[in-house]
Amino acid sequence: MDNLIIGGKEFSSRLFLGTGKFSDNRLMAEAIKASESQMVTVAMKRVELHDESDDLLNNIVKDKTIQLLPNTSGVRNAEEAIFAAQMSREAFGTNFLKLEIHPDPRYLLPDTVETLKATEELVKQGFVVLPYCQADPVLCKQLSEAGAAAVMPLGAPIGTNRGLRTVDFLKIIIEEATVPVVVDAGIGAPSHAAWAMELGASACLVNTAIAVANDPVKMAIAFKKAVQAGREAFLAGLGEVSFDSKASASSPLTSFLN
């Protein structure tokens, strides 16, 4: 079975979902169900932590096949993230955490320094940390050395739907990874997700592309199929790309060997 293991849990779906930006929570719940996703992230800032009947949460928590992944979107530094994480663990009863630190409210790009700092501390406190980060191969090695359960490099800025703008670096990250690589942010179409999986990513996290589609439920299904297709292509081994050597027959490089 080609299951993905993160934080000791097994996931048969490699499509993770975000829950922001949907026009209503009922539609969001339908999209999650249609996607068959088993890892769903929820911004703590959107949830009434002490209200058990919170609409956003109920739709996810009731479904036992889904691992809730609270995220710290909104915090501006490591200190805030650590505090938020502790609150999250208490409120939601899970060690899983998507670490999201973006002090810049325009592009929501992750703060590298604070993310590494927070990861180091949160791992020590027993969290299963999935840090959203820049597509920086060295940073990803450092995060995995710090004990992150996975790394989540961005494809493009959050919400832009621009696809894998960071593809050259994602390839390096995947090549060098010793933990799962989840491409998170910027995936705008199922073809982007399929591409990420063909490259060898362990999973994709998609939010905006589904939430703001004309038909989020149909789009969720399309993404489900795309992630599966990309993964199967990766496992099947992509075929030969024609090789153009431009080697000149008249002055061969290896004539000295004859």
Binding site: E176, T178, S245, A247, L253, F256, L257
Partner: protein, 377 residues
């Protein structure tokens, strides 16, 4: 540790896989941006022999992208040939009746001075036999201390050490370690290394993990071609090892070597296989296409025309005017060599030759001040 990983890889199955590779497999490998071990097996297989020219083209392309038109120059200095091991192929075998040398500190320093007169060498490789009772890690540390004013990059090629000893030596300025596994065939390893510490396969193969854990900046690997008939399998195991090490010790630089044994002139050990020049070229190109970043080193074991031509196609490190006997540059210029040098050109000749090929010899590529915080003195 790598010993645990290599247990999972079958020598015989790997050999079979290599020989079952087809032209299609080779073409697929040559078309890829990033090759895996399966691709390496295709490129090193007999099926790839007709593709030598294309492989040379790719090897040259990737080498130029990463290294430019440069060749890194180094010089080996043997400081002892006193050895307690019985490697059946080695001139320093414990049972060989010969004068054993352990250079004194003064003699070592004289060697350094003599080397600096030959050419502006900054990269030196200190080589010893294995006799910890008489020349232990502290002896090696002293040789490194004395080398510091003369050379900016210090490497050693000695018996495998513990993590603590490797770390200790980094505090004495050691930048890199070279250690040839000789062969990755665990079953046959003891035929060639019957006694002494060198007979312990797992201690040797895990030495590279210990280097990585100790924070050694540069690790050099090698398979001695001539021991195992199936040299393709042996080199494939080294490729597995290289990829494993790159993943686990990601801040380290790596180099590979393919020392080829020649037929022995006397009753010495006769190699079980002789690798042809074309096979050496194929293996070198395959390694470069598999790994765009690894340093590929040819010593003076290789003749001049091979070294010069391969320097344009994938080889990135060379020694020059090497002596493979202890004290060979000043103290004992006549003593017994560990192996025969085939490229006997003077360093200046090699420099001219490289320049005429459009290549720049690079002498200095490190500075001791980068390790300032680590240093014991």
């Amino acid at each position: 540790m790598f010993y645990d990983e290599i247990q999972k890889i079958s020598w015989d199955e790997t050999t079979e896989k290599i020989y079952s590779k087809t032209e299609t497999d080779v073409k697929r490998a040559l078309g890829k941006q990033r090759c895996d071990i399966d691709d390496f097996m295709a490129m090193i297989s007999p099926a790839a022999a007709p593709f030598l020219e294309q492989m040379a083209f790719l090897s040259r392309k990737y080498t130029m992208e990463r290294f430019g038109k440069t060749v890194s120059m180094f010089i080996p200095l043997y400081i002892t040939n006193s050895c307690t091991n019985s490697c059946v192929y080695c001139g320093f075998h414990i049972q060989n009746k010969m004068a054993r040398t352990i250079l004194t500190e003064e003699q070592i320093e004289n060697e350094y001075k003599a080397i600096k007169k030959i050419a502006p060498f900054e990269n030196i490789l200190l080589v010893t036999g294995e006799n910890p009772a008489k020349a232990d890690v502290n002896y090696i540390a002293r040789a490194l201390d004395i080398a510091k004013p003369y050379f900016s990059n210090l490497k050693i090629e000695v018996m495998p050490l513990s993590t603590e000893d490797y770390e200790m030596l980094t505090h004495h300025g050691m930048n890199g370690v070279i250690c040839f596994q000789e062969t990755y065939n665990e079953k046959n390893y003891k035929l060639y290394h019957p006694k002494g510490m060198k007979s312990k396969f797992d201690w040797r193969v895990n030495g590279f993990d210990r280097m990585g854990m100790a924070g050694v900046h540069s690790i050099g690997m090698g398979v001695l071609i001539g021991l195992e008939k199936e040299f393709r399998t042996d080199i494939t195991m080294m490729a597995y090892h290289l990829r494993y090490l790159e993943k686990h010790y990601w801040k380290t630089k790596y180099s590979v070597n393919f020392p080829r044994m020649r037929p022995a002139e006397n009753e010495g050990f006769q190699p079980n296989v002789i690798m042809t020049d074309k096979q050496l070229a194929q293996v070198t190109f395959a390694m470069r296409i598999f790994d765009h970043d690894v340093d590929i080193s040819y010593s003076t074991r290789e003749p001049a025309n091979i070294r010069d031509n391969m320097a344009r196609l994938g080889v990135t490190t060379m020694s020059a005017q090497s002596k493979t006997n202890p004290g060979g540059y000043y103290t004992y210029p006549q003593a017994l060599d560990q192996f025969t040098v085939n490229d006997e050109r003077k360093a200046q000749e090699i420099i001219s030759s490289l320049k005429s090929l459009g290549l720049e010899p690079v002498w200095k590529d490190w500075d001791a001040c980068f390790d300032h915080e680590k240093m014991a003195v």
